[in-house]
Amino acid sequence: VKTTISTEWLSGCSGCHVAIVDMHEKLLTMMDFFEFVRIPVLMDQKFYPPADIGLVEGAVRNKHDRESLIKMRESVKTLVAFGTCAVYGGPSGIGWLSSPEAVLQCVYGQEPTNVPHQLPDTDTTLLEQSVIPIDEVVKVDAYMPGCPPHPFWIVSALGFIVESGNAPKSYPAKTVCSKCKRTMKKMSDVSLKKGIVSVSDPNICLLSQGVICLGSVTLERCLAQCPNCGIACSGCAGPSTDIITEPHLDIRTLLSKRMHLLTGIKKEEIQAYIEQEAKTFYAYSLASPVIYKKPTVKIREWTAESIEE
């Protein structure tokens, strides 16, 4: 008997669904073990048939999202928060910083192409007051962060869910650095490179080169593709497990400490820069209480400028 999978897409970009198709040849092998009973992107199935596993992509932005999510919860045995938006809010969660009115004002009221003073009519007033991860609405059985999770991890996770059944086992939870081929090296005469996402040396850690890379504070669900090709990790799979489980550990404190040891740049300088640019460095997880409820994290304060209307 095949394990049945049902999926749903809330406020997200559909990238997690494309990642399913990106299993490439493995998708065909997977079909021997799994049956997709609902994938809104690929199938004409508009209802919620019962399924063993439910994959939910996206955060909850409006009342449709909430209703669909509840229907998914009722129809599946194991509900998986699929991708960073579902787990932490992800890029959709950046909306958590602004009121819905401010978002609409910005999208519909700006130069140079918008007709002045227009707003969507009342038929569309479905937005909720904020954007939230799905476990704020329903019970979630498993979390699969990643933006999107690399297909390698989707195959791995689905297999793991089937094998482990009701007995939870441990699952790999290392940081991005674990798959990065670069070497952390103590360097001198390095300055903090602001606004820069790439480095020239292909073998040395980005932190050592003065570029803020979130790899050491981010869960690896990506095969470390960004740092391996010279681009700083932007933290898109959300924080590493130590940050999730320990309230007093945070992205900026851990990162500034490590970078200070590698480069000698003052911890305070690094930390101040991360706080100043919190909207970018916390972009993927700021809508999650895991982050904003930390005693020292003041996301709204740090990004205050950005929510001025």
Partner: protein
Amino acid sequence: MAKKLMIEPVTRIEGHAKISFDIDDNDDPINGRLHVMEIRGFEKFVQKMELGKMPLITARICGVCPAAHHLASVIAIENGGSIFTSQKTKMLRELLYMGHILHSHALSCFVLLGPDLISGISASPKERNIFHILSTRPDLAKKALQLRSIGQKIVEIVGGRGIHPVMAIPGGMASQPTCDEMKRIFDWGVEAIEIVTELRPIMVTMLQKLNNLRSVTLINALPLALSNNDTVDFLQGKCCVIDDKKNIERSFSVLKYGDHLIERITPGSYMKSVHLRDGSAEKSFFVGPLARLMVNSSFSTPKANKLLQAFKKSLKSGPVLLDIIEARLIEMMYCSERIAEIASQDNEKEEPCTPFTPCEGRYVGIVEAPRGILIHDYIADKEGRVTRANLIVATQNNYDAINSALTALARHFKPANDENMFLNGIEFALRCFDPCLSCATHAAGRIPLVVELRKNSGIIQRIQRSSP
């Protein structure tokens, strides 16, 4: 009696939407309208973020066409900062992009819309999906999926990631494929040419079965596309519009887009429609594969160009809905040929570019996304932070044409007749445009399909698929 017809949710398109019609006195549907029910608001999200981070964060607008946003963004920064890019950089980006278009078009042609052609518009929902086609036509389906995989694997190698690529930075590429990888990409290019050569005629034959729809699905709007000296180009050129006599109606550089385009809200929808400014009046236009092929007179590669010339001859009257699919098939040939061409060139190693320091100014860029022109426009303050962003995406540009096509097919299939056929017909009209609603609202989407029939502003009927 007040009538309104609505379809929800629309499956197999990229986004969350419903559809409605008004019903006239003869009980015929009029005023078809796609309602987009989602909004994320990336224009707001990126405010106060550093300009240099835009190519990374804006790619996350869409999981289907992230490469388009990634490159539009980096090109905007380079345009605004007068940053030079080498021939090698241009070549790598084009390679990445051809892989991207191939993936997106193959997804549209074979996975999303393909089932309508292969199983037929009248087939039951159970038969109209890629999984069913894998069991009934495994030969066709596996090759189609392989074609998409080739495109996406190229994006992963050249762009650094398959979904949400990261490799393009202002002034260059963060790293380059190895010679081995280039060789593999070349082989994929050759394989893609073979697959398109085999599958395209099969799809065209299937399209011909729908010839009865041609007379009812005329696209009544002017094509707008990038044109590089009258040749199709996805990453550079001027915006060009042609009129129904094939004369140039207007041509402008992307910096001037604000003088030519205007965005309006539409009732009951988060998606804005875009029109051409025409003095105090406005004109409808459409974008995408068919617009690119109509505006330009040639492709730079031999096989695609030959197909294009034959296609142009067959375009006797005005463009119709089905021509979009054929245009997409021809573009897949172009992408495949370009992939093989680029990957066969010398793969010299290039020195990394100097990091770019952003400054106050305006940064505007354009690319041809798979579905048509995509514009990123940022204003940055003296600290290099974005203070305002304006994003115009392909599907918005097609809003008018989409609504006309919905009305045309609704009138053709009529709600009172076979309900399944009616719903499928309308969804088919939508899928021809391959609308990407993730992009369109810089949002996301569930894909509702409820058809609402309205009369005198009241809803008289909601048609949606009955429970399985």
